[in-house]
Structures are given as structure tokens and as C-alpha cells.
């Protein structure tokens, strides 16, 4: 009887000790992006799906959200801003006007657009991809090639093909460094049952990995980019670029918007 009491006591103590050992007392800092002053040689890029969803129904950018979006973008003072889920070119121009006179904007294909204050940025983009906006930016004597993509939200196979074609076109474009970013609408993060959100997880895994094989996922481990708790927006950069900082900037979406802006600071290696 007594030996049982002692053994039980030892087990309780052991359990308590092991739980203390297993406790994670470290601060949970996932290092999400916070805008700060940057060096002159640092390039800042932003991708933001500015649409949203209301009562389960997706919608493009709402006019009432333009001031808040412009305010966030003005604070970021990025070199290149890529937006998705625009209603039309006129709406994009209104967003550019809200940012200031020195901002120019143009639509890519589909619901994608570009905003920039840099006068030397050229338009570029592959013909076969439906929703995209791309630029060529000569910077410090080298050419940066960027392609923004808004992949299909409901079909993994559509995403698979769009991402594959975009990646192939991007890497075929002459330049010193390449960046592929945008709302890719796939979530293969660890520790999640992603098949709950995808009609073909295998295709999404392949889509992600074709990019990860040649480019670096800049905002990996920096947290979700969209509601509910999903990482759908990515910035993939080639090895010629050093990632100074990257991640979603939380607290900027308003109303029924469902994505955070994802920001990356880069410089040439």
C-alpha cells in the first residue's frame, strides 16, 4: 500500500517536472514586418490583395477602403506596390491620386495593378497568364524583374498551371534578379490541415515547391497573410537578392478586407 502511495507521488512530481521542462517560456515573436526607415540601397516591394469578403461573398476593392489603403501605402513608402482584386483601371487611378501626384499606376491583366513613384519602371508581363502585373526595374545598374500574380482561389489545378507558367516566364526574362509575388491562394504551411481548403492539395504542394526549388520564400514563418489564419500571399526572391526584412504588416486591413499587405525589403548581394 505504502509503495503505491510513494510511486504515485513520484509520478505526480515527474509529470509536473516534465511539464515545466516542456513549457515554452520564450517570447512569441514571429518577426512580422513593421515599417521602418530603410537604407538608400534597400528596395521595398509590397503585395496586397485589397479585395475582401462579406457574408461569405468575395468582393473587389471597395471605394470606402481606398483612404485606409492609401494611408498604409503612404506609410510604407514602397518602391513598387502590386495590388490584386481591383474593380477597374479608374479605381486604381483613384488609389494613386489618394497617394499623391508623384505616384503613377497601371493595370496589368485581370484584376492586378502596379503603383510606383519610380519613373524608370517599365511594364512587363507574360501573355498566357490571366491575372498578373509585371515590371522591369533598372536599379543600381542591374535589372530587377518582378511578376505579381493573383492565382485562382477555387481550383488547385488552375493555380498549378498559372504559377508554373508565371515562374517559367519570369525566369526566362533577362534580368539580374527575379521576384515572384502576389496572392497565390495556396497554403501549405506546416502544422495545418491544408486539404480543408484545397480541392487538390497535391497540386498545391507541387505549385509551392516549383517556386521554392529556385526562389526563396521571403516571408516564411512570419505568420498568416489572410483570414482566417491563412498564408496565401507570398514573395519569392532569387538568390541575387538579400532579404533585409519581410512579412505581413498586421493591423492595416479595414472593414471587410481579408488580406494583410505583405512587405519585403531587399538589396543586391
Amino acid at each position: 500500500m505504502r509503495s503505491g502511495v510513494i510511486a504515485e507521488g513520484v509520478l505526480w512530481l515527474l509529470a509536473a517536472g516534465l511539464f515545466v521542462l516542456g513549457a515554452d517560456f520564450g517570447a512569441r515573436d514571429i518577426g512580422a514586418f513593421e515599417p521602418s526607415m530603410r537604407d538608400a540601397n534597400v528596395m521595398r516591394l509590397v503585395t496586397w490583395n485589397v479585395g475582401g469578403a462579406e457574408n461569405g461573398v468575395p468582393h473587389s476593392m471597395k471605394e470606402e477602403h481606398v483612404p485606409a489603403i492609401a494611408d498604409a501605402l503612404a506609410r510604407l513608402d514602397a518602391d513598387l506596390v502590386f495590388v490584386q482584386e481591383l474593380v477597374d483601371g479608374a479605381q486604381l487611378r483613384r488609389l494613386a491620386d489618394a497617394l499623391g501626384r508623384d505616384w503613377t499606376a497601371w493595370r496589368g491583366r485581370g484584376d492586378c495593378g502596379v503603383l510606383t513613384r519610380r519613373s524608370d519602371v517599365e511594364r512587363w508581363g507574360p501573355r498566357r497568364v490571366r491575372n498578373h502585373a509585371g515590371v522591369l526595374w533598372p536599379r543600381d545598374g542591374r535589372d530587377l524583374v518582378v511578376l505579381a500574380l493573383h492565382a485562382d482561389a477555387f481550383s488547385a489545378k488552375e493555380r498549378n498551371e498559372a504559377i508554373g507558367e508565371s515562374h517559367a516566364a519570369l525566369m526566362a526574362q533577362a534580368g539580374h534578379a527575379h521576384v515572384l509575388l502576389g496572392d497565390l491562394n495556396l497554403d501549405v504551411d506546416q502544422d495545418k490541415k491544408s486539404e480543408l481548403f484545397s480541392d487538390d492539395l497535391h497540386a498545391d504542394v507541387e505549385s509551392y515547391n516549383v517556386l521554392a526549388a529556385t526562389l526563396t520564400d521571403a516571408a516564411l514563418g512570419k505568420g498568416p497573410t489572410a483570414e482566417p489564419d491563412r498564408r496565401l500571399d507570398y514573395v519569392f526572391v532569387s538568390r541575387e537578392l538579400e532579404i533585409v526584412a519581410a512579412g505581413p504588416w498586421f493591423g492595416r486591413r479595414v472593414g471587410t478586407m481579408d488580406h494583410h499587405p505583405v512587405v519585403v525589403d531587399l538589396r543586391w548581394r
Binding site: S3, A15, F19, N160, A203, E206, N209, A212
Partner: protein, 277 residues
């Protein structure tokens, strides 16, 4: 004496044989699945034009890893919970426990003998399953390096590669780590077994509760509940398949697993000690 008796009863129960047979059947089905998948990838019906896979992606090590992963989360806990659930409740129902305790032997000794033998059974079952998976992989699929990709089995968040020798060492490390993981469902089912008077009820309740907790732990919407569920840490051994093992995180998860196992064992012992008969 008690240990020999318990060992003999475990062998005569046929539970170990049934578990081994089920695992072999599972491996055969996995092998068929691998072959049909490979066929569909090479003879038409291929839609993935931008695949990351290559000829050397699927090999014996990949087979062993897939087989062990799915076997571990879906099959091994069921056999282990069956073992734990049958221990005390089965003996109570048959009256064997009363006969055992009529001898000059403490309840604690009987309890720890049963637990120890069941834990040894877990350890051997995991080792056998891993070993057979690797051998089947080697013979039927052929070995190579182990490539892992994000999204596959939730093993890694970036593409990674382990040389064959390194990967085999990781499989060896996983043996004790996965065995430790199974101590949780074992102790949990033993605790339930101390309350039940029928082995069927104990096993049924233990298995169903394990599955409920496993599903809750897997769905990330329930992330606030996860830290409190032992099933959240069941596959902590996956850390040993990373290119660079994060030892502090792995050992922390290992401590949590052992903590839950100690907690359930303490609860089971308390109930076993204080109950009548």
C-alpha cells in the same frame, strides 16, 4: 513470477499477432498504392505540368516514411490503446485480477508489471513496423536519398534533403521517440481501464476518445486547445527528419509527451490503488 505470467497471458491473447498482421496488411496496401500512383504518373492522366517530383523522389525511404507516418497516427495508437484498455478491465471482468491480488503481492507491483509489459510491447511493435517498412521499401521500391518538401506530411517548411545514411540514422532515432509518444495513449487507456469492468467498453472508449482528441488536435482552428491535448505532440518525432534538428524544440515536445504519460499513469495508479477489488 507476475511478469512471466503477464507475458504468457499477453502472448495467449493473440493481440500482438493481430497487430502485426494488420500492420503487414497495411504495408501491402501502401505498396499497391505507391505502384498505382507511379503508374498514373507515368502513363497518362498527368495533369501536373510543373511537378517538383523527379525519378528519385519516391524511393524505399520515402515509402517507409509515408507508411510509418500514416501507420503511426492511425493504426499504432489503436493497438496500443487496445492493449492498455484490455489490461485491468479484462482482468476485472474475468476475475483474474481478484486471484492475482489474493497472492502476497502489492497492487503497485501488479500495476507496474502490466504497464511495463505493455510499454515493451509498444517499443517492439514500433521497431518491428519501422524495420519491416524499411525492408519492404528496400526490396520493393529501392533506396536512395530522402527528399522532403513543404506540404508533404507536414514534415518541413522548406525543401530539404537527407543523404541515405543520414536518413537511416534518423529512422533509428525515431524508434525510441515514437515509442515514447505511444506511452500517452497507453497510459490514457490504462487509466480508462481502471474505471471499467468490461474490456470491450474500456477499449472502445479509449480508442474513440483518442480519435476525437487526435482530430481536434489536427484541425488548426482549434489551436487554442492544442497545447492541452496529448495528441498534439504525438508526432513530435517528425523533428528528427529535419535537415537540422532543432534539439531544444524537439526535447521540449518530448518532455511534454512524457509529462502527459506520467500524468495519466499517476491517475491510473491512483484509481487502481484506491478501488475495491
Amino acid at each position: 513470477m507476475i511478469a512471466r505470467l503477464e507475458l504468457l497471458r499477453l502472448w495467449r491473447s493473440r493481440r500482438p499477432g493481430i497487430a502485426v498482421l494488420a500492420l503487414v496488411l497495411f504495408l501491402v496496401l501502401m505498396l499497391v498504392g505507391f505502384y498505382t500512383y507511379a503508374q498514373s504518373k507515368t502513363h497518362g492522366a498527368v495533369r501536373f505540368e510543373y511537378t517538383f517530383e523527379n525519378k528519385s523522389y519516391f524511393n524505399g525511404l520515402t515509402f517507409a516514411l509515408y507508411a510509418f507516418y500514416f501507420g503511426f497516427v492511425l493504426l499504432l495508437p489503436v493497438f496500443v490503446a487496445t492493449e492498455g484498455g484490455a489490461q485491468v478491465a479484462g482482468d476485472t471482468a474475468s476475475g483474474t485480477l481478484g486471484l492475482l491480488l489474493a497472492r502476497p503481492v502489492s497492487k503497485a507491483r501488479v500495476f507496474f508489471t502490466k504497464l511495463g509489459l505493455a510499454a515493451l510491447f509498444c517499443f517492439l511493435l514500433v521497431g518491428l513496423f519501422l524495420g519491416v517498412s524499411l525492408v519492404v521499401g528496400l526490396v520493393a521500391v529501392g533506396w536512395g536519398d530522402l527528399a522532403l518538401y513543404p506540404g508533404v506530411l507536414q514534415m518541413t517548411d522548406r525543401p530539404q534533403h537527407l543523404a541515405q545514411g543520414d536518413a537511416l540514422v534518423r529512422f533509428l532515432l525515431v524508434w525510441p521517440a515514437a515509442s515514447v509518444s505511444l506511452l500517452c495513449p497507453l497510459a490514457f487507456s490504462l487509466w480508462i481501464s481502471t474505471w471499467a469492468k468490461s474490456a470491450v467498453n474500456a477499449v472502445g472508449l479509449a480508442v474513440s476518445l483518442y480519435l476525437v482528441l487526435y482530430v481536434i488536435a489536427e484541425v488548426h482552428f482549434f489551436q487554442d486547445l492544442r497545447p492541452w491535448l496529448f495528441t498534439s505532440y504525438a508526432t513530435w518525432w517528425r523533428a528528427f527528419f529535419r535537415e537540422r534538428i532543432e534539439w531544444s524544440a524537439a526535447l521540449r515536445d518530448g518532455a511534454r509527451v512524457l509529462g502527459f504519460a506520467a500524468l495519466f499513469t499517476a491517475l491510473a495508479l491512483r484509481r487502481f490503488r484506491t478501488r475495491e477489488g
